[in-house]
């Protein structure tokens, strides 16, 4: 279980990116964070694995205060939390398999790893991770030779190598076309269901939210303005919607489509 209590982040330049945010995530949830660009989604996700140090508040995960740990303890915590990025953040010039194996770095002998050496078990696991996301044949290509969708799958495989209990995904499909979006989120859903990995994911499209989320948090200007489950979001009123997306926002048609229907809609649109 992850408890976020009164989390506040003020950047050095004075920007208040998160303002007294509190919520809990139960194990095995697929939590989706929605909100406009600049509402604090990335900041929130990065506070959870401490890529960003929060200004105030506490984050308790499995009974440990994440905000207090340092050094080895922090790295041991991070290795259990996978992360997936909008721009994939692969090392472009390295091979796909090396990118995947780098997800294992928190576990291996640090000195051996500096020579890019990995045990045969790790390599086997890397191959299995690539197989799970369906690109085992691309293992020896350079990462930047792959298409966007394939690169994000490498990102997922890298996170899998961490044996994560939780995966943080920061707009994982924002730079992909809608069909690929479903594929990628489909993998996350599979991990969530089959391997009991908690997922916290920020998304932009409401239809994707409805299709995959088990619970949703709406952020606006660093504050939580909406919380609910998958059913609640379909009943979301216009004023609630405008709380999240601002006065000018209008709901597009696709926002009300769900699941299969949404997939079909996107396919037709393509």
């Amino acid at each position: 279980m992850l408890e976020v209590k009164n989390l506040t982040k003020i950047y050095n330049d004075g920007t208040v990116a998160l303002d007294d945010v509190s919520f809990t995530v139960k194990d095995n949830e697929f939590l989706v964070i929605i909100g406009l660009s600049g509402s604090g989604k990335s900041t929130l996700l990065r506070c959870i694995n401490r890529l960003i140090d929060p200004t105030e508040g506490r984050i308790i995960w499995e009974g440990k205060d994440v905000t207090k740990v340092q050094g080895t303890q922090l790295r041991n915590l991070r290795r259990q939390v996978g992360m997936i990025f909008q721009h994939f953040n692969l090392v472009k010039r390295s091979s796909v398999i090396l990118n995947v194996l780098s997800g294992r770095l928190g576990y291996v002998n640090p000195w051996k790893s500096l020579l890019y050496r990995f045990s045969s078990e790790d390599r086997a696991e890397g191959a299995a991770a690539l197989e799970m996301v369906g690109i085992e044949d691309q293992a020896n290509k350079r990462a930047d030779e792959l298409s966007g969708g394939q690169q994000q799958r490498v990102g997922i495989a890298r996170a899998l190598m961490q044996n994560p209990k939780m995966i943080l995904a920061d707009e994982p499909v924002a730079s992909l076309d809608p069909v690929l979006a479903h594929t990628i989120l489909g993998y996350l859903e599979k991990l969530n269901k089959e391997r009991d990995i908690t997922i916290i994911c920020s998304l932009h499209y409401l239809d994707l939210v409805q299709r995959y989320a088990t619970r949703i948090i709406g952020l606006r200007d660093g504050k939580i303005v909406w919380q609910g489950n998958n059913k609640d979001i379909r009943k979301m009123t216009d004023s609630q919607f405008k709380d999240i997306y601002g006065e000018e926002a209008e709901r597009v048609n696709a926002g009300s489509l769900v699941g299969e229907e949404a997939e079909k809609w996107h396919r037709e649109k393509l």
């Binding site: 890529l51 915590l77 992360m83 953040n89 090392v91 780098s102 997800g103 770095l105 890298r158």
Partner: protein, 506 residues
């Protein structure tokens, strides 16, 4: 766009047309400025001032003894009529041209083109030609005389190899003086050995009279035997204190061809030789006949051997300097990378200081660093290495720091998120991004350093340049040519190799 054009047309000049002419004639360019052509006006004004300034300076140089402008001008015309005349007329033309254009601008008759600048450029070209003392005529006139040394530099290969020599020598003693002083002994003739006899074996050396005219000495008749047949035989002279030299007769070195039996006869005028007074007394000189024949295989001659040795030295000088440069510039480049140093004002201050120092060091040419290094560590390759290292640190520091500034931060964040430690993050996320620019810049620098070390010897910094200047000073153009060829060869091979390697890494 359209509205902007209208505004431009509506802008009125500050003065009327005739006024613009007058103002322009007083101060060229001011008319343009008042016609709202600020940039062009200033440029023309500056050009005019510069041209006139340079022109007056050249006149002064051409007539530095004259006093007063008129007489200086007359003298200058006398010495460089075409140049002075052309520029004088051109300045007058330009003066009126500017005025005319100022008039046209104020009365909107024309916008004025760029041809006036073409004219200004032509004037600068003429002035520049004169200042830099370009003398094409001389280059062509002196080509025939310069050709022999030049051709030796261009095709020096005869000097590249040599063979061992065998010397066949015989000598006869000659007394300088008269018969009654006691003639030197005549050695007995040994069959099969070279032998030379002189009749007479005494006489007077050539000498100089008061007007420095040569008074010919005694003619001695030389007879040689036992030499190799049909071979050039050199005649040498050794004076009473043992100094050997080759006398000349009719400007040519004396030599004689042996006949088919290996014998020769030769009439030699006893040469001119100044003997120091301390060696006064009975003077016995020697005449020698020498046959030098080349035997055995061709072997590399000294110039070739030295050149190869120094080319190797040069390449390694460049390599060592690059090596030290890389080692030292890596830490420096981090201090000069904005994205590493932007966390606080202290680090930013370090960043600016580092950048400034790097820029200053880089703007001083390696050749000048070599002059300084020679003072510091003495002549030789080490001075060259020091100079090139200093320059490389600055150049590479800048290139590497720009590469660091250009790295993608995403993978670093991703690797941190996996729980990797900082060394792992560096090795997995930073190093792969740094390798291509790093390899490419380092190879490029090695290329530059070897290139530079070929000339750094000119100022005493070791390497092939050192040898080259020495050969040129000794007027040994063939040896110099060998060095030049090797420099060209090395540099072009390196150029190719470095381009190939860099192409592989990007």
């Amino acid at each position: 766009m359209a509205s902007r054009k209208i505004v431009a047309i509506e802008k009125k000049a500050y003065v009327s047309g005739p006024a613009a002419i007058v103002i322009s004639l007083i101060i060229p360019g001011l008319g343009h400025i008042l016609a709202r052509k600020m940039g062009k006006g200033l440029l023309l004004m500056l050009s005019m001032i510069t041209i006139i300034g340079l022109f007056l300076w050249r006149i002064k140089l051409l007539a530095h003894r004259e006093i007063g402008f008129i007489s200086q001008y007359v003298k200058a015309v006398d010495r460089k009529g075409f140049f002075i005349g052309f520029i004088t007329i051109a300045i007058i033309i330009l003066w009126f041209w500017i005025a005319k254009e100022a008039y046209q601008l104020t009365t909107k008759k024309s916008k004025g083109g760029f041809s006036i600048f073409a004219f200004v450029l032509l004037m600068f070209f003429i002035v520049g030609w004169q200042i830099s003392e370009i003398n094409l005529g001389r280059a062509i006139r002196e080509l025939p005389e310069a050709w022999p040394p030049l051709s030796r530099i261009l095709w020096p290969w005869e000097a590249a190899v040599t063979r061992a020599t065998e010397e066949l020598t015989a000598s006869a003693e000659i007394l300088v003086g008269t018969e009654d002083e006691g003639l030197p002994p005549i050695p007995p003739e040994v069959p099969g050995k070279p032998y030379i006899i002189s009749t007479p074996n005494f006489g007077q050396l050539s000498s100089l009279d008061k007007q420095n005219n040569v008074i010919k000495g005694t003619v001695i008749h030389l007879k040689g035997k036992g030499f190799t047949a049909d071979t050039i035989t050199q005649i040498w002279w050794a004076d009473s204190i043992g100094n050997e030299f080759r006398p000349r007769q009719d400007r040519e070195y004396t030599s004689v061809l042996t006949d088919s039996r290996g014998e020769f006869t030769f009439d030699l005028v006893m040469p001119y030789r100044l003997i120091p007074p301390s060696a006064a007394g009975r003077q016995v000189h020697k005449v020698e006949a020498k046959q030098i024949t080349e035997i055995g295989p061709f072997i590399p001659a000294d110039p070739l051997r030295l050149t190869i040795a120094l080319i190797i030295e040069t390449i390694f000088m460049g390599m060592m300097a690059t090596f030290f440069g890389i080692i030292l510039s890596i830490p420096v480049s981090f201090l000069a990378a904005r994205n590493i140093m932007n966390s606080s004002w202290i680090t930013m201050t370090i960043y600016f200081i580092t950048r400034t120092i790097l820029n200053i060091i880089r703007s001083i040419e390696p050749l000048i660093w070599a002059l300084i290094a020679v003072v510091w560590v003495g002549l030789g390759p080490f001075a060259g290495i020091v100079a090139l290292t200093v320059h490389s640190v600055a150049a590479l520091g800048k290139l590497y720091s720009e590469a660091i500034e250009g790295i993608d931060h995403g993978p670093i964040e991703a690797l941190q998120a996996t729980g990797a430690n900082w060394l792992q993050v560096i090795m997995f996320a930073v190093v792969p991004q740094m390798i291509p620019p790093f390899v490419s810049f380092s190879i490029y620098r090695w290329d530059i350093n070897v290139r530079m070390s070929t000339v750094i010897g000119l100022v005493g910094g070791g390497g092939i340049g050192f040898l080259l200047v020495q050969y040129i000073r000794l007027l040994d153009y063939k040896a110099a040519g060998i060095a030049v060829w090797f420099i060209a060869l090395t540099v072009s091979i390196l150029d190719y190799v470095s381009a190939e390697i860099r192409a592989r890494f990007t």
